[in-house]
Symmetry: C2
Subunit: 503 residues, 2 copies
Amino acid sequence: MSSETIYVELTDWIKRVHALGTVGELLGWDEQVNLPPGAAEQRAGQQAALAGAQHAAASDPRLGEWLTALEKNVAALSDDQRAVVKNARRDYDRATKLPAEFVRDKAVQSSRGYHAWAKARAADDFAGYAPVLAQNLDFAKREAVYLGWQGREYDYMIDQFDPGMTAAVIGRLFAELKGELVPLVRQIAASPVKPQAGALKGFPVEGQLAFLREVTERIGFDYARGRIDVSLHPFCTGTGSDVRMTTRFSVDEPLRSLFGAIHETGHGMYEQGLPASQLGTALGINAGMAVHESQSRLWENQVGRSRGFWRFFEPRFRALFPTQTAAISSDELYLAINTVAPTLIRVESDEVTYNLHIILRFELEKKLFTGELAVKDLPAAWRAAAQELLGLTPPNDREGVLQDVHWSGGAFGYFPSYCLGNMLAAQLWYRALALRPALEEEFARGDFTWLLGWLRENIHTQGRRFDALTLARRVTGEELSPRHLVRYLRERYGPLYGGKLEG
Amino acid sequence: MSSETIYVELTDWIKRVHALGTVGELLGWDEQVNLPPGAAEQRAGQQAALAGAQHAAASDPRLGEWLTALEKNVAALSDDQRAVVKNARRDYDRATKLPAEFVRDKAVQSSRGYHAWAKARAADDFAGYAPVLAQNLDFAKREAVYLGWQGREYDYMIDQFDPGMTAAVIGRLFAELKGELVPLVRQIAASPVKPQAGALKGFPVEGQLAFLREVTERIGFDYARGRIDVSLHPFCTGTGSDVRMTTRFSVDEPLRSLFGAIHETGHGMYEQGLPASQLGTALGINAGMAVHESQSRLWENQVGRSRGFWRFFEPRFRALFPTQTAAISSDELYLAINTVAPTLIRVESDEVTYNLHIILRFELEKKLFTGELAVKDLPAAWRAAAQELLGLTPPNDREGVLQDVHWSGGAFGYFPSYCLGNMLAAQLWYRALALRPALEEEFARGDFTWLLGWLRENIHTQGRRFDALTLARRVTGEELSPRHLVRYLRERYGPLYGGKLEG
């Protein structure tokens, strides 16, 4: 067979494996949105059967043969084809290098970890959870070794979520960011300007849904190729022409569901922008979680919290909720939209302090993997870091080290993506502004098409051709750096909280 | 390995294959209920990938080895295990005896057939469709031969939907039924009693949904293990603890959506009643389409159209829709519920004439397979049979041979199930009445628990241990016969349409 024929066989098969993966995602969505309460066990059986079928397809020996044949003659491949083969090799190794017994044990451990964490969190009992967490860490390290990352175990974990990213790069970026951010947050916290908490009350769900739908459609979510539903925990899943977002409503927190939905819309538009004919190959999947998060954060923060955005949407918001908004001025509304207040809980934090929560987790994760920090010493280390970074000390572990689900299932290395995404979002934003200085005025007219078009061309349609660092360099003309994020936060929050907010 | 060990391996694998099948059903449900309009092609790719994975699992050589080993020592198996092995062999043969090329070509042909039919129906152009239908027939016959049914091709088609059923048995049953039913329909048609068409108008969808939900829950659908949604074509899918029904509403036809939902509830309760731990093996799947239809029809007709049922539900119906029901008397409502009026269209027909529509299709299908009837002569044969059976001649093929979708996709042998189900429903009904003479009085008190319990024990929990004929014999103490259906129709419609309705 010619390289071209083998390449077609390979990509056909990859697309098939990917399609099975998207079926699993749909089952997950259905579980959150539609599943009858008594069907959980049956659904677990369906997911297990599907995972088995997907693994069988992903580890098919023919894949290995096609890859080996193509890798022998890389010169015959185009750049795009090389990117596809490289990513396919990565996936194939992950599907085949782990012993079946290890995979089974890890799945059991992951489930055990989740339940141990839920129990420990409820009882504020880290000591009861520590041995299970230590086992999670051990499984993660062993997995890295199976895949050939001995000595770089934490990098392996990071690479799973962000291909090409390393702890060394993140460490450098985060150290720089931390130096700027900690004083900035202190300044805002010390500001006499305080957003009016709880000023927005009694927003009926139907009205919220109508507004949210208008906003997300206007900024560019394609409802012919996606939908939005209600679930307990908002998320976005699916890809290509079937992207499904979820949200939840609280009548006294209209901004929370709105910004949650704008965030998910950013994720959703990225997935809708991948090339339909290539779904599953490196040309048709997202570049990783950092880039994904850059898309959700850009729309949520740089766009959704901008003056221009609200010049267009505020009148519509007031028209839909005339009584609920009667007592709040435009400036007060804008300040409510841009509330900054350090909190112990990551998922409740604002866009400024959020980054400090991530830096905290990264520093601890990294030390767990190097062995500098023992699992049993995590609570104390967490408290110290929270005090250093946020100026707050958690009164218990529930509001400290036990607050996040991630580690309980073995997802180490995921947290950094959130902050890397924030950095990239700001960097993309200033590049966009340099190319299109009138962007915010366009927003004020309800026109978001240029920005989406630019992201489509430069990010979405690129798939996974490039890793996050390369993509940042190509699109913005410079290396990924935290200084754009710092600049953005100063420019946005300085005028609101008094003064220039120097670092 | 011992027989017991092999048996466990076999059933674990079967359950896994079945779980993949239920995932495919869920995708189908999602397509009708949730799919964004632009996602059809992507969904087709997911279904194809899943079908490929399921086929790979269903034709896994280990299955064949386990089956051969168990079949060599049948004496070591219990009756239940024998039933499981027999059904597993049937499935395995179907998964492995068809050449991959044939399966692929047939899928293409099936899709081609559907589109040719849709086009022909719109244009009332049977001639344009005839060659494609002839190819469908040819594929069906070839498939039967691959599976070893040469000379019994139509029996093969029937057996796909109703394991163990044959054209000879159906022919005998239908001939007897036809002799009774044709004169009965003529008598009703000639009756001066005429239901008031269109007396029920302006029923808001929300109220219909509330009533339908109350009715279906009261008769026994478990909403903790199922749900109901809206789709263009009502159906019921899923099994065990995740059964999903759909319905559709028309403000001027409240009885249509109600009886559609009761019908689907009958299907749904059957699936909810299968033993959860055995889903997929012969102990945990339905016995075939005839038995399935007996469950939907029993609840829809014998129960749902009974006086007792309406003694309980009529006050609730009127309370929900006071203005819409003000002008209609109880007798008029009951007559509307039991309207009989011959029509050319099967899906619009009442429960009496419905059977004649099925007999018509069976007689033609049978002749298509024996070669007594050529595809090109179908329209004329249809017209003659419609005149003989219904006393009506279709003015065109759209209202004749082109009205049903089934044959276009190659589903020959499916139609008889509907009428066999009606027969079995009536036979079960009289057996239930013999055991529990006060049944209708219990309905009048809103109590349907005895009947559901009896069906659970005698039908639902039996799975596919027995074929339809054996099941009928075991549960009712006699061979399946049309005379119960005839008796039921006379008893129900005689008093309504004047006289005893003698055959």
